[in-house]
């Protein structure tokens, strides 16, 4: 019973829910601010993402007459709840060790594509040509970036499992404690290709340039999100913000979970700073310095680079 309440608290307040959302929205504001600076602009105030969501909540909800009503409404709710649950599984090194101790890496692997699936569901439900094009693109992108992700997670699990002698370690808590004892995996030469692959995975899964193909404003008018507006769009945005936290937090937990000291607030701040640095390198700067790939180019890019890099790590782990 107590466990259940605790789990719900973890999903709603820390590290999922409120905390994840606050961090993610703050990151989003910083991201927009930095992008603005890079483009010689002032940029929005730091509170802007909150204002955007507040605005969307005050707008009326329009549901297209041709849309499948239930699926249309369910999709953003699914994206939001999926990510809120997923965020509870992200360990904050030195503060919180994740929701369970058993195979939570696999749970994350299952939960991560939920926003993408929800987006596809919403796109299919809204019965709009642009949304359907967005749907097929989203699907292709998901296929493209899920493959390297699976291999990266496998490489990490196998490396840790091999060293600790359990075969493959799918518990994030154990992976963290292994790293605490033996140094971060990001510094492990064998894991370097996997880390680079993860960094390339990030813009794809977050749908930012050069991989913002499903939502390409200039090609398919925001694609799956075309028919969404008002509170439902706000839910999508919250879901996407939570996802930012999840993927960044996962990246830090997998590769650089090192802590500074035993005092938890310091560790918490250190974790946020690391997430931010990861975002800066993989999302903000890349977004500012590139355009958008065509869907086929993006697909082959993912097959050629991150998948191969992750495979190299996997093979090296296997061999060594």
């Amino acid at each position: 019973m107590l466990d259940t309440i605790l789990a719900i608290l973890h999903m709603c307040i820390f590290p999922g829910g409120v905390f994840a959302l606050a961090v993610a929205l703050f990151f989003k504001a910083l991201d927009r601010r930095i992008a603005a600076r890079v483009q010689r602009r002032v940029g929005p105030p730091l509170i802007q993402p909150v204002l955007d969501i507040a605005k969307l909540l005050t707008k009326e909800t329009l549901i297209p007459r041709t849309a499948h009503r239930a699926a249309f409404i369910m999709a953003p709710v699914l994206a939001f709840t999926g990510m809120a649950v997923c965020a509870a599984f992200i360990p904050v090194p030195g503060v919180y060790s994740g929701l369970t101790n058993m195979g939570d890496l696999l749970v994350i692997l299952y939960l991560l594509p939920i926003p993408a699936i929800a987006l596809m569901l919403g796109a299919a439900a809204s019965s709009n040509t642009f949304s359907s094009v967005g749907f097929s693109r989203e699907m292709l992108m998901t296929l493209a970036y899920e493959l390297p992700l699976i291999m990266i997670l496998l490489a990490v699990a196998m490396l840790v499992g091999k060293e600790t002698g359990v075969g493959a370690e799918f518990s994030l808590a154990n992976i963290l404690s292994y790293q605490a004892a033996n140094g971060s995996l990001g510094f492990h030469p064998v894991m370097l290709p996997a880390f680079v692959a993860y960094m390339i995975f990030l813009p794809g899964t977050m749908g930012v340039a050069p991989f913002d193909i499903p939502e390409a404003e200039q090609e398919v008018l925001e694609g799956p999100l075309l028919e969404y507006g008002g509170p439902l769009l706000a839910l999508y945005q919250i879901g996407s913000a939570l996802k930012t936290f999840v993927v960044l937090g996962l990246g830090v937990a997998l590769f650089f979970p090192g802590t500074l000291c035993d005092f938890w607030p310091v560790n918490l701040v250190w974790f946020v700073v690391k997430c931010f640095l990861l975002m800066l390198v993989t999302l903000t700067v890349v977004k500012a310095a590139t355009g958008r790939f065509r869907i086929d180019q993006a697909f082959w890019f993912y097959i050629k680079f991150p998948a191969v890099l992750a495979l190299i790590s996997l093979v090296l782990v296997w061999w060594l």
């Binding site: 602009r41 507006g229 008002g230």
Partner: protein, 148 residues
């Protein structure tokens, strides 16, 4: 609570542009206003959006040709309330240099309720910015809150 939300909401006006048969002048100036660093509307929380469903402030350019009329009306209907309509350039306001042409529909304010006019041929980006600021004021009025 909803009052607070309303107050916060006007600080995030998203712009949507409808070209109702303009000569490009106003459109280029709109793109300039909305997207380039020099005028940076993101300072005011504005964003240029691709879908009418996301829009709050709709900027209409061009003298509403007969062929575009129904499309403009349909798009305008797709924008969720509350919305503020801004007519940019003299064409949507009065027909401008194209007045009396056989292929123009009525002036825009006979078709849909217009809130702000920004005349000019084309108006300079700073004037369009003034229009957006004015649109924000009207939005607040529509939500029933006064400036404070």
């Amino acid at each position: 609570m909803s009052n607070l939300l309303n107050k916060l909401s006007v600080r995030s006006p998203w712009l949507f542009r409808i070209n109702a048969g303009s000569c490009n002048g106003c459109d280029v100036e709109l793109a300039t206003t909305a997207l380039i660093p020099r005028f940076d509307v993101e300072r005011f929380g504005c964003r240029y959006c691709g879908s009418p469903r996301h829009a709050d402030v709709v900027l209409i350019t061009g003298p509403v040709t007969l062929k575009m009329r129904d499309k403009v009306l349909k798009l305008w209907d797709e924008i969720p309330n509350p919305k503020v309509t801004v007519a940019v350039g003299i064409c949507p306001i009065s027909g401008g240099v194209f007045r009396d042409s056989y292929s123009l529909a009525e002036p825009l304010d006979h078709l849909i309720p217009v809130d702000v006019n920004v005349p000019g041929c084309p108006p300079r980006p700073q004037a369009i910015l003034e229009g957006v600021v004015l649109a924000k004021k009207i939005w607040m009025r529509k939500l029933g809150i006064e400036e404070g």
